[in-house]
């Protein structure tokens, strides 16, 4: 029974990290209608920046902040110099551009940091806990607390601030938003800043969780999060978070209990096919 709970806790941790990456993708899709595949590369860069800052300064706080700022700049750069000029073409053009950016960043990281798996031997400033025999590692507590904090801040921004209202307006119609005086380009850039900073945090958390950082660490999340935003309902933040949590738990349970030779990374896609057959708009998407 204890194993079950520990697996469940691991699964939720995994789901939390998926949720953090998926969030950025959902927000970007919302305001720009672009599948931002390169988001997973931003996450990889975040992990490397975090590792570099941590190993050179020894401060995790600095690693989180520095990587968030670095990735925010990278994200806005991708938006300004890749997506914005390509917006006037059909949606597959920016999508291909995004894939190109993703592969380029992977290769650049390989050139800079080498094709090795680096370790991220950080000790998070959270206690290891044990409840009646169930062991909860400090990493898991860190993942939970940081995810909860980020979700809370994002919920506040999107539902309570002028920025959130403007983001909702821009995601519904850019031309009307312009006529309402909203500088939609600024709102889109802020969305990239938020999404990319959160991706950096997710990258560092994954690095610490698995104690691994490597150039292609974004490859599997790149397509898995695409499946997740579809399952959650394109553009629906809550749907993306819920789908991520379910997938994290399902994957972990599958490895823990199923004795069938089943590739766990396929699960997200089987779920996507299933959900699309059942509800083509996703679990939280609105039907149009």
């Amino acid at each position: 029974m204890n194993t079950f709970f520990e697996q469940l806790l691991n699964g939720i941790a995994m789901g939390s990290i998926y949720a953090l990456v998926t969030l950025g993708l959902t927000l970007v899709y919302g305001v720009m209608r672009i599948l931002h595949v390169a988001h997973a590369a931003v996450y990889t860069v975040g992990a490397y920046m975090g590792l570099f800052l941590y190993s050179s300064t020894g401060s995790l706080l600095l690693a989180f902040f520095g990587a968030s700022i670095g990735c925010a700049i990278l994200g806005v750069g991708i938006e300004r110099f890749v997506y914005f000029p390509l917006m006037k073409y059909p949606p597959f053009v920016p999508l291909i551009g995004s894939i190109a950016v993703m592969l380029s960043i992977e290769e650049i990281m390989r050139l800079i940091a080498g094709p090795y798996i680096l370790t991220f031997p950080a000790k998070l400033p959270f206690p290891d806990l044990s409840f009646s025999g169930i062991y909860v590692s400090s990493t898991i507590i860190a993942v939970y607390s940081i995810t909860a904090l980020i979700l809370l801040v994002l919920w506040y921004i999107s539902s309570r601030t002028e920025l959130g209202l403007a983001m909702r307006a821009v995601s519904q119609d850019i031309s009307i938003s312009g006529a309402m005086g909203i500088n939609s380009h600024l709102i889109v850039s802020i969305t990239f800043v938020i999404g990319s900073a959160v991706a950096a945090i997710a990258g560092i958390l994954v690095g610490i969780y698995y104690n691994q950082v490597y150039p292609t660490m974004g490859a599997v999340p790149a397509y898995k999060t695409l499946a997740l935003i579809v399952v959650g309902g394109l553009g629906s933040v809550s749907g993306g978070v819920i789908a991520s949590m379910i997938l994290g738990v399902a994957e972990t349970m599958l490895i823990g209990y199923a004795n069938i030779p089943f590739p766990r990374d396929a699960l997200a896609f089987i779920a996507m096919i299933g959900v699309l057959m059942w509800r083509s708009e996703g679990i939280m998407g609105s039907s149009r």
């Binding site: 921004i157 309570r160 601030t161 002028e162 920025l163 959130g164 209202l165 403007a166 909702r168 307006a169 519904q172 119609d173 031309s175 009307i176 938003s177 312009g178 006529a179 309402m180 005086g181 909203i182 500088n183 939609s184 380009h185 600024l186 709102i187 802020i190 609105s286």
Partner: protein, 255 residues
């Protein structure tokens, strides 16, 4: 002679080889309702899109209260006090009627990074938004999702949003199309009321009777060119207009 509030000078918009608007001039004076008539594809909406900053004119200038506004992005034009509606109504469907108006209320804040992090919908903003909803007759529906409103109410909502933004001038793009007879009367009264409160209005309209009744002056476009300008009674008699737009005379015989 009163100085014009908006002066459009030699404006053209070409899309590749298509001359959507070609060398159009006109002036709009404070407090008037100017009508723009013309058959489909005459360039009326393109003209609006140039004034409101959606398109940059290929040639020509637009002067609003002494400032050049051609080529400005639409959010900056909006901030100068020019509100507009769209031919195809596009409310923010997932927001309520009140929230739709509040989006427009935030207008000055969205450009300032430091000011967008604050909460939206202050007591003052909500009260002002409700006053506007009261004025356009939507106050009872304030908390309804905008996506669920019928067309007549959506047109009013569009005008409510345009009123918040357009404290100086409103551009109304076919606000009467698709409305039932009794709704047309109410909307006419609303537009007169808006003009009487001191705003200048330009409207694009297909409904001839309404245009003749509401507007103090009318310009007529055909194939992107201005073919006539004048008071409704003169436009009614203009041979060019009758030929280009109406084809037959009877339609213009307004009681």
């Amino acid at each position: 002679m009163v100085a014009p509030i908006l002066t459009v000078n030699g404006i053209s918009k070409h899309f590749g080889g298509l001359k959507a608007v070609e060398n159009v001039d006109f002036q709009v004076f404070p407090g008037e309702i100017l009508g723009i008539l013309g058959p489909n594809g005459a360039g009326k909406t393109v003209l609006f899109n140039m004034i409101s900053g959606v398109y940059r004119p290929t040639e020509g200038t637009i002067d609003f209260r002494g400032e050049r506004i051609e080529g400005l992005p639409s959010h900056l034009v909006a901030r100068k006090g020019i509100g507009r509606t769209f031919q195809i109504v596009k409310p923010f469907t997932s927001l309520t009627v009140l929230q739709n108006v509040l989006v427009a209320k935030g207008i000055m804040k969205y450009g300032h990074l430091s000011r967008i992090w604050g909460p939206w919908g202050s007591r003052k903003d909500i009260n002002e938004a409700k006053e506007i909803l009261e004025r356009v007759g939507l106050i009872e529906l304030a908390d309804r999702k905008a996506g669920l409103l019928p067309l007549g109410n959506l047109r009013r909502l569009e005008i409510a949003r345009a009123l918040v933004v357009g404290h100086t001038m409103l551009l109304l793009d076919e606000s009467f199309s698709g409305l039932r007879h009794e709704e047309i009367g109410r909307l006419e009264a609303l537009i007169r009321d808006i003009r009487d409160s001191g705003r200048t209005i330009i409207l694009i309209e297909h409904n001839m009777r309404v245009t003749m009744r509401l507007c103090s002056r009318i310009i007529v476009l055909d194939h992107g060119r201005k073919i006539a300008e004048g008071e409704p009674k003169d436009i009614q008699k203009n041979e060019l207009v009758i030929e280009a737009y109406l084809g037959r005379k009877g339609v213009l015989d307004v009681p």
